[in-house]
């Protein structure tokens, strides 16, 4: 009896490990440095995590569907550069630049989705190729130049990155709103269940009549949509962008998703946990900076945390700490 109770407690601990670690971490930092839980500081962290967070929401769908998306970093650079360029183009202006950029970014997502969903090519290599191809596309588009908005006071374009409503920064509102919508889509709709089914066991899903190709295609569309939104926030916040603004973000995004407990094999993970993963990365960075450490110390800490998180998750599932590999 007591054994069973202990076991279920252990199971809960293992399942909610990342949440518990997050709470412990927050309390620890708060006790150690009260400035950490200052509302201004907390909002600041969420605000600076918003871009990464929005991208991670989309990638969560892709990963649960059993695939990877390494092209989101390049795609972010692309969308930021395009929207800024079109904003400066008198034929477009901000009101047309934004939908045009969304259309172009979604097209890139559709290419990913078509190749991986319908042609069933390996997602790692396809999105690796797209990482390179989209980077080249961005450079060709911009001619290697940075993009800037010349007259920053005359446009309302900055509202997405710099504005705030009811005292809450707009990027945070976008992140929270999108997380709520996508969270419901994933957890409460037939489409969401199909994503889990396809990622969990694609063959079984096919035999159950789930249109696997279409579901995978849609996960990449969602991913591209999130990147477009993130690109809009990025461009709006800085009112200018380099061609490499998103470089390397694909792996940071993936780190956040994995930290949230989504399995790379597909079929598991939730939007809520991804948000926790994003916040953990953001608060670690913030906490270490407040402790007076350089930004790069967080890389090492993130490394240790990612491996510990995944390791403990696996260990809980197999019931043994060390792997059985001979």
């Amino acid at each position: 009896m007591a054994d069973a109770a202990l076991k279920s407690l252990g199971g809960t601990l293992a399942r909610q490990g990342i949440l518990i670690a997050f709470v412990v971490f927050m309390v620890g930092f708060a006790l150690w440095n009260p400035r950490f839980i200052d509302p201004g500081n907390l909002f600041g962290v969420v605000r600076s995590s918003a871009i990464l967070g929005v991208m991670a929401l989309g990638v969560t769908f892709v990963v649960i569907g059993g695939n990877l998306d390494l092209s989101v970093g390049s795609m972010l650079s692309f969308s930021a550069i395009v929207v800024l360029d079109l904003h400066e183009n008198p034929a477009f202006g901000p009101a047309l630049a934004i939908p045009a950029m969304f259309a172009m970014t979604l097209t890139l997502g559709a290419i990913n989705g078509f190749l991986i969903g319908y042609l069933r090519l390996n997602s790692l290599i396809v999105t690796l190729g797209m990482l390179s191809a989209i980077h080249g596309l961005t450079l060709t588009y911009s001619g290697g130049q940075n993009m800037d908005i010349a007259n920053q006071t005359a446009t309302w374009f900055g509202v997405f990155g710099r504005g705030s409503a009811l005292g809450i920064p707009i990027p945070v509102l976008i992140f929270a709103g999108l997380a709520a919508v996508l969270g419901i889509l994933l957890a409460r709709t037939p489409f969401g269940r199909k994503v889990y089914a396809v990622g969990g066991n694609g063959t079984a899903a096919t035999f159950s009549g789930i249109p696997r190709a279409r579901v995978v295609f849609m996960t990449y569309i969602i991913s591209a949509l999130c990147v477009a939104i993130a690109g809009l926030i990025q461009a709006s916040r800085t009112m200018g962008a380099q061609n490499t603004v998103g470089q390397g973000m694909e792996l940071e995004v993936l780190a956040a998703v994995i930290l949230g407990g989504a399995s790379l094999l597909g079929g598991s993970g939730t939007i809520f946990k991804t948000v926790i993963g994003v916040l953990i990365l953001g608060f670690i960075q913030n906490g270490l900076l407040l402790a007076g450490l350089q930004f790069y110390v967080q890389y090492v800490v993130t490394w240790i945390i990612i491996i510990l998180a995944v390791w403990l998750d696996i260990a809980a599932k197999r019931g043994k700490l060390w792997s059985a590999i001979a």
């Binding site: 390494l70 190749l115 042609l119 069933r120 090519l121 390996n122 790692l124 290599i125 396809v126 690796l128 190729g129 797209m130 990482l131 390179s132 191809a133 989209i134 980077h135 080249g136 596309l137 450079l139 060709t140 001619g143 290697g144 063959t203 096919t206 696997r212 190709a213 470089q247 390397g248 792996l251 940071e252 993936l254 780190a255 994995i258 790379l264 350089q294 790069y296 110390v297 967080q298 890389y299 090492v300 800490v301 993130t302 490394w303 240790i304 990612i306 491996i307 995944v310 390791w311 696996i314 260990a315 197999r318 060390w322 792997s323 059985a324 590999i325 001979a326």
Partner: protein, 333 residues
């Protein structure tokens, strides 16, 4: 039977056929557009090409072994940078500086040791925790990059030693040191993979890990050795490159992992493990470098290189799937 042999020939020959096509295309296109008065198929140009492909090429050889094993290593770029920093920084240590040129082999040794230790860490984690190599090395990519920055902040690390530069730029029969090292690495690892038990085990493990375990292969230590190998090769690549350049930036080596994987995949190695050849990777590395040079030769903007390489990678994947489609038993959806 005959068609099987033809298929194998085609598979192994494809990358070389592609290289020949590139050579013809760029030579002819260069002439037609008369953008360049120098011939593309110039011997010196080709020797230079081998030298330029060495840094990624050496890493790609290690990546081939890792991928045949069914693993992947995303941390090689950071390992490359850290090994380079250790090497150049070591040359500045007082006792090393006092040794004069005698310190060079020691600095090289330290760099290689750094790479091997970083590889060992990855390998041990993969073995002991059972976490997927993709995640382990993704974490290490961040972690090792953090170590790179912690070593010397955001400042570049430099040390110029002319003997070292001379060694890095020495040439035999027109081949410069980096090219020689690259070809030697290709030859040695090719021998290991085709002629030794270790090589055979690598294919066996990648093909079917369960079966390999049942056959008595010690999978864990085997994979650790391969991670040490790729760490050492990433460091060797740094030794070859930074001996000549004498300066490391903490951001160096970023995206190297992606370039190396691209070359390996172009060379016909499967991500799922169990198949692939070192010579194919040599072809993949040369094909990419040819493309870079060739596009410059015909006057294309350097920006288009990424676009072309990305597209080619996807097309290769498509062709590969069409050619290697499994029998009718596969579930068609």
């Amino acid at each position: 039977m005959e068609s099987d042999r033809l298929k194998t020939l085609f598979k192994h020959g494809a990358i070389w056929a592609f290289i020949v096509m590139e050579l013809i295309f760029f030579s002819v296109a260069g002439d037609i557009f008369s953008l360049s008065n120098s011939a593309f198929m110039d011997l010196n140009n080709m020797l230079l090409l081998l030298k330029q492909s060495a840094p990624i090429g050496i890493i790609a050889v290690g990546m081939t072994v890792i991928m045949i094993n069914g693993n992947i290593d995303l941390s090689v770029g950071a390992t490359y940078a850290l090994a380079g920093i250790v090497m150049l920084d070591a040359m500045n240590w007082p006792f090393m500086a006092a040794m004069g040129d005698g310190a060079i082999p020691l600095a090289w040794g330290l760099a290689l040791l750094t790479g091997c230790v970083l590889g060992l860490i990855n390998g041990l984690i993969v073995w002991k925790t059972g976490v997927d190599a993709f995640i382990v090395t993704l974490g290490a990519m961040l972690g090792y990059r953090g170590l790179v920055f912690m070593y010397n902040g955001e400042n570049p690390t430099f040390h110029l030693n002319w003997t070292m530069v001379d060694l890095a730029e020495a040439s035999i029969l027109g081949l410069q040191t980096p090219a020689i090292v690259f070809l030697a690495v290709v030859a040695i690892v090719w021998l290991v993979m085709t002629r030794t038990v270790h090589g055979r085990n690598a294919y066996a493990i990648g093909d079917n890990r369960e079966a390999a375990v049942n056959a008595g292969i010690r999978v864990g230590p085997h994979m650790v050795i391969n991670f040490v190998l790729i760490g050492g090769l990433a460091a060797l690549s740094a030794v070859v490159f930074y001996s000549g350049s004498g300066s490391v930036n903490p951001n160096d080596g970023m995206l190297f992992e992606l370039w190396a994987i691209t070359a390996v995949v172009l060379g016909g190695t499967k991500l799922s493990g169990g198949s692939g050849t070192i010579l194919g990777t040599l072809g993949g590395v040369i094909a990419i470098q040819l493309l870079r040079k060739g596009l410059g030769h015909i006057g294309a903007q350097s920006e288009t290189v990424n676009l072309v390489i990305g597209t080619i990678l996807i097309v290769v994947l498509l062709l590969d799937r069409q050619l290697n489609r499994k029998g009718a038993g596969e579930l068609r959806v």
